[in-house]
Symmetry: C2
Subunit: 411 residues, 2 copies
């Protein structure tokens, strides 16, 4: 792998060079001499950690802005009908469109949950991003399909793909029984795979769980023994104090999806409670059908402003905090040494254009990224030391757009 | 003025040509022959109405991302201190930076409220956008300054500037007494100028008003006789049913600023109440210090998602409705025949790139603009028949950026 010398980037107010080698930030220094390295001129650009989108259903880009503003169950019925028709080719096409959008807005990792995992994994490999491809499980799958999925997961691990891994993702407590949860978790732990589920998203889920199991959703999953430090629990909107405590103790990562929770009117995540319990909070966009984009920049602003509004406190959801949710805390959840620009960490980086009007004047860059920026501020994106986007351009972007357009015309 | 022929644009699913003449949309038809017109090739672009930002303090771009996440009064004290130091040159520089940002995100009109109005007006003229330059009034101004402001407003009207007008903008009921409100309103009506004020923004304002005047803020201003169909009331977060009724009856325009209200934790505007009363609701970004950008695209998404979340109803804040708040309702508030793409209306238009990944697949363009788009989707912007931005480029943008950078360095 060639070395890259990032020349004259702005890092927290200083001008520095960065030497990138073997996917890592090898050195950061005011001046680095490395004649063997390819030079990337970063004059006028600031270097920051890239974003980790910790909960999404990438291929749902295909259903963007389709059946909007409906009551929840009418909407779900429409979406499910269309999802049932998706082929692996469609999912490859939709996932590539999603990844294109994520790279354009500075994201280099996504934790997915969907069907036809081989197509999702192929799209991620093709686009050279990091991904955890969560295989979705529900009770209605046949025993044979479940075994086939497990086989695929085992085989995939042997393929030696370093950026893409498989996750085991039982959908939710209202679509998966206790047996399926236990079986999935056992398999995940035997094979050291990420475990990923929807949890405590709506009030109805909590009420049904209390009725059916005599306990709340997090208590229920904790009693099943399926929460640990390699578990992503998406949403966690409706948590009792005791449940927040359980998530902290088990080191489960809470993935907060503010846009989706607001758009579907699911409720407001109690971020202050989770923070005061010491939970690891990460951010996700959820699928485009309930967002409708995959921008972590926008998600940070929603996370922050929703907290301020919800608590009636302009000091809630501070810019520095939500920026960490979108970067470091996501990387931590999947055991990657990334999310900060430091020597020895993974070279998952964004380069932002300091001449963009949204970042001027240059008072506080983190604050401007959270409250002011949009994807036009992102000049270049690096993942594992490799440029995914250089000066706004992504290889093969025209082809991906053309393919998405063809998919739509064929429906 | 030259005619422009917009060739092959997408309008609500159809391919059309548009003939632009004298600042108006003269004709829309599948094929227009106009050999005398300049041709703008719009293949791959959809034409939509441009945005009207109905409440802002443009020059506050200079304080973007400065003193963040503080308690309200600490923040205000910091801002006020810095504002006191601003020169007319600073305000010209900050307002041009703001206008650059607005054009990039598809906005062609802003209703401002600030100091040094001649500098604000000069910036708007220089950038060829529409603006209503609200002159801010507070009790602490001397009688002489008030008279000078009134003189400026009268003189400006005589200058024959067609896109920029002056507004009379008493700041708020907690900074302006009854006499100043009456005097300002009388002057505004004598000279047919827009009247613009902050109203019912915080719970504290309501409580103080009840204590001091025995009535709520809207009742108080209504009794002073200063609410009518050429009045913008910014915020209106805390309204009783009776107050919403008054605003509807007087045809006062409510300017909703969801980002600012959330960021400052001021409360949540009761949009369903205002809608059911038949109020004219428009949208504004407020100043960048409490947002921190001027994007109406983002403001629409916040307006919609905040309503859904607040009412626990995914059918609140529908995309079509908030799009109208951001376009037609703003134009209506200032008596301009704009906000829709129809023959005879003002040619205030945006051209959006249908190849942008955020607008794909092409299921519902209005929905995608509200929920998914960002400024990268805007290809070109026209105001009064004149291109302010063509294919992403605005004349003199480098100079404006350079000037903003110099301002910051000098502080």
């Amino acid at each position: 792998m060639t070395k890259t010398l990032i020349h004259n980037a702005r890092l927290e107010g200083r001008k520095v060079d960065l030497l990138i080698s073997n996917g890592l930030i090898e050195q950061i220094s005011p001046e680095i001499v490395a004649p063997e390295a390819e030079v990337f001129e970063a004059e006028g650009l600031a270097v920051m950690p890239a974003f980790y989108n910790m909960h999404t259903h990438a291929a749902m880009t295909l259903m963007r802005s389709w059946c909007e503003d409906l009551p929840l169950f009418d909407w779900l019925n429409n979406i499910w009908k269309r999802e049932a028709e998706l082929t692996p080719d469609d999912i490859y096409c939709g996932t590539r469109l999603a990844i294109l959008e994520m790279i354009k807005s500075g994201t280099v990792f996504f934790a997915d949950m969907y069907w036809h995992s081989s197509a999702v994994a192929a799209a991620a490999e093709n686009m050279k991003v990091r991904a955890n491809v969560g295989m979705c499980f529900v009770d209605s799958l046949s025993q044979k399909t479940i075994e086939q999925n497990f086989d695929f997961a085992k085989q995939y691990a042997k393929g030696g793909q370093s950026l893409v891994s498989i996750g085991i993702a039982p959908h939710a407590i209202y679509t998966c029984g206790a047996d399926l949860y236990r079986k999935c978790f056992e398999f995940a732990r035997e094979n050291d795979l990420l475990f990923h589920t929807h949890l405590a998203e709506t009030q109805k889920e909590v009420e049904d769980c209390l009725k059916n199991n005599g306990k709340r959703p997090v208590e229920y999953l904790n009693d099943l023994g399926v929460l640990d430090n390699k578990t992503l629990a998406a949403h966690c909107v409706h948590l009792s104090a005791k449940e927040a405590e359980i998530l902290s103790r088990t080191q489960t990562t809470i993935v907060h999806n503010p846009c989706s929770n607001m758009k579907l009117a699911s409720g407001v995540f109690n971020s202050l409670q989770a923070q005061s319990c010491g939970c690891n909070i990460a951010l996700g966009t959820d699928g485009t059908s309930s967002n409708n984009n995959l921008s972590m920049i926008e998600e940070m602003k929603f996370a922050s402003l929703l907290a301020k509004s919800h608590y009636g406190n302009p000091q809630a959801g501070k810019a520095e905090e939500v920026f960490q949710w979108a970067t470091l805390n996501g990387a931590k959840a999947v055991g990657l040494n990334a999310g900060e620009v430091k020597e020895g960490m993974l070279a998952d980086l964004i380069f932002v254009n300091l001449d963009n009007e949204r970042l001027l004047p240059d008072n506080d860059l983190v604050s401007s990224m959270v409250y002011s920026a949009d994807s036009r501020c992102i000049d270049s994106v690096m993942c594992n030391g490799n440029f995914l986007m250089k000066h706004g351009y992504i290889e093969a972007e025209e082809e991906i757009i053309e393919q998405a357009r063809r998919y739509n015309k064929s429906k």
